[in-house]
Amino acid sequence: MSETNDTNPSLTDLDAEHWLQAYEQMVKIRTFEETANELYTSARMPGITHLYIGEEAIAVGICEALRQDDYITSTHRGHGHCLAKGAALDKMFAELLGKEAGYCRGKGGSMHIADQETGNLGANGIVGGSAGIATGAGMSIKLRGTDQVSVCFFGDGALGQGLLYESMNMAQLWKLPVIYVCENNQYGEYTHNSKAAAGSMVGRAAGFGVHAQAIDGQDIRTVHATARLVIDRARKGGGPAFLVCNTYRFRGHHVGDIDRPYRTREEEAEWAKRDPLTLLEDWLLKSKQAEENVLERIRQEVKTAVDDAVAFAEEASFPSESEVDNHVYA
């Protein structure tokens, strides 16, 4: 149950096209987040937002192993999950800017993006708050007799929430197809997890008999291979799994957390050496699956798409006043 990189080679043996698609998704998230930060610093975005930069390999590695009809639940740091599951850039930015064209008609904002069509049951402003929802989706899958899977993303901070343990216990009791993905970026806000989580992280799930594994969350090949195994297992009725993906958020807790006095620049520099995008780029180049110009073209195309999406969102109109009390009840 220690960190392991043993992966099934047959599953990582994907063709270059597949990896380039994953690369594009990761670049998309990175560029989206950098742009969201710019929108914040230039006072064009209301509120604050939590950036996923540095953790892209997890969302993409997992979601590339999912089908469109599979479910995810996400967190306050949720843009990466939403995009990885297939959300469109323009509606994402429109939501961040509080526009009617956004995924939630401007009612949800950065922390609450939901999109049924891509199986995204919603990001959540409550730490650990979606553990029950993801498990309920698993229950629903079981009752409806489909072979979907439900993935619950959460941070290491959510390990402090009792709901998670209630949920994993029931998922294992009833063999629900739920994958609990703990994005262990080492901190919950400004507190290191060594001060918040006693004992073993994987041991918590293992105690319920849930298949539990800690993996390198920076390496998309590891994340993806592991994801395929546990997702395939869950689909076939093998029950839930718990993955601790070790990672690091390269930026502050939110866009306004600039000084980061709670951690050292040395620690940040160490993790920066393991940037998930660079790791994938290096591997693609070294294994001759892509030339630098192909990667550069992907980055350019993503940049253009992001710029277009921002332009769309900025031009889009705000919801009319009559929207305010619409959708309180269905």
Partner: protein, 342 residues
């Protein structure tokens, strides 16, 4: 406690004399069983709901009829099963989450208040949460402070939730069926003292809309608004008042959210006096909201301030000598009405 057959007016279109009598508990079970038979997406989850048929025996028989896949005994994980309810509801099911005692709803607060109630709104209307959370209210069972509360005001406060408080078997069945069919999260509070109470319930299928008050007695001198358990206290008071020449109209809103303000205000305009009675703590209770709605809507017609009676603002004590002091009774209602009509 008054019996229902000589106590409560039922909608004449549906209630004919000689109709079958069933208990409040049977009415709830019937509603759930009918909806489960009608709609495969309905399932029940909770502690001791399946094999034991719930601690109040309300669900006995459901397991045999629908099997363990749809009547699910859960661990003692209130927040967890509420969360499962939300997730299952968002993805196409119609869960009925059973929370044994109303007091334990404090453990599901986040799942109800921050998740269920807000999902539809936050998603811009895309996701819906058609779930029912059944629980209980009411003191008088000598169960002390953690098994006796009436906490429906907490949920009535939250936009996005509906809250139903049936008082009769007839209302319980009709409201439960509507709650299960509703596209929104509905919290149903059942008075645990009522489960054995009998009342007329027609054989034919019916539902009752959420948000429609019921006039349980008509009268001219004062409007008494009472919910759930307090409908019976009010009925007893209405009879006593009649014997001293005061004609009271008794209205049960049946749901606090949505609230049928129209019916309440119209009655208060007619009688020009109003008293609101509910078993929740008096402070910041649903009586405050209802009294204010009546005061606003009937101000120019009122001959006296709108009064309200709730449970005493103390944790419910164990000793019968004290517990009974904390719950409104008919004599107190009568005295209050006399002071208003004096």
């Amino acid at each position: 406690m008054s019996t229902l057959e000589n106590g409560i007016r039922c909608s004449p279109a549906i209630h004919a004399p000689g109709e079958r009598q069933i208990t409040f508990g049977q009415a709830i079970r019937e509603a759930i069983a009918e909806e489960m038979a009608r709609d495969e997406s309905v399932f029940v989850i909770g502690e001791d709901v399946a094999a034991a048929g719930s601690v109040f025996k309300v669900l006995v028989g459901l397991l045999d009829e629908f099997g363990p896949e749809r009547v699910i005994d859960s661990p003692i994980s209130e927040a967890g099963i509420a969360g499962i309810g939300v997730g299952a509801a968002i993805t196409g099911m119609r869960p009925i989450v059973d929370i044994m005692f109303g007091d334990f709803t404090t453990l599901v607060m986040d799942q109800l208040v921050n998740q269920a109630a807000k999902t539809h709104y936050m998603s811009g209307g895309k996701l819906t949460v058609p779930m029912v959370l059944r629980t209980t209210l009411g003191a008088s069972r000598r169960s002390a402070a953690q098994h006796s509360q009436s906490l429906h005001a907490l949920f009535s406060h939250i936009p996005g939730l509906k809250v139903a408080l049936p008082a009769t078997p007839y209302d319980a069945k009709g409201l439960m069926k509507s709650a299960i069919r509703d596209e929104n999260p509905v919290v149903i509070f059942e008075d645990k003292m009522l489960y054995q109470e009998q009342g007329p319930v027609p054989e034919e299928e019916y539902t009752l809309p959420l948000g429609q008050a019921d006039v349980k007695r008509t009268g001219d001198d004062i409007t008494i608004v009472a919910t759930s358990s307090m409908v019976y206290v009010a009925l007893e008071a209405v009879d006593k008042l009649a014997s001293i020449g005061i004609s009271a109209e008794l209205i049960d809103p049946r749901t606090t959210t949505p609230l049928d303000a129209d019916t309440l205000v119209r009655s208060a305009r007619k009688t020009s006096r109003a008293l609101v009675l509910d078993e929740g703590y008096r402070q910041y209770g649903v009586t405050g909201e209802i009294a204010s709605v009546i005061a606003d809507g009937a101000f120019y017609y009122l001959d006296a301030p709108v009064k309200r009676i709730g449970a005493m603002n103390v944790p419910v004590p164990f000793s019968p000598a004290m517990e009974d002091l904390t719950i409104p009774n008919a004599d107190y209602v009568v005295e209050t009405v006399k002071s208003l009509c004096g």
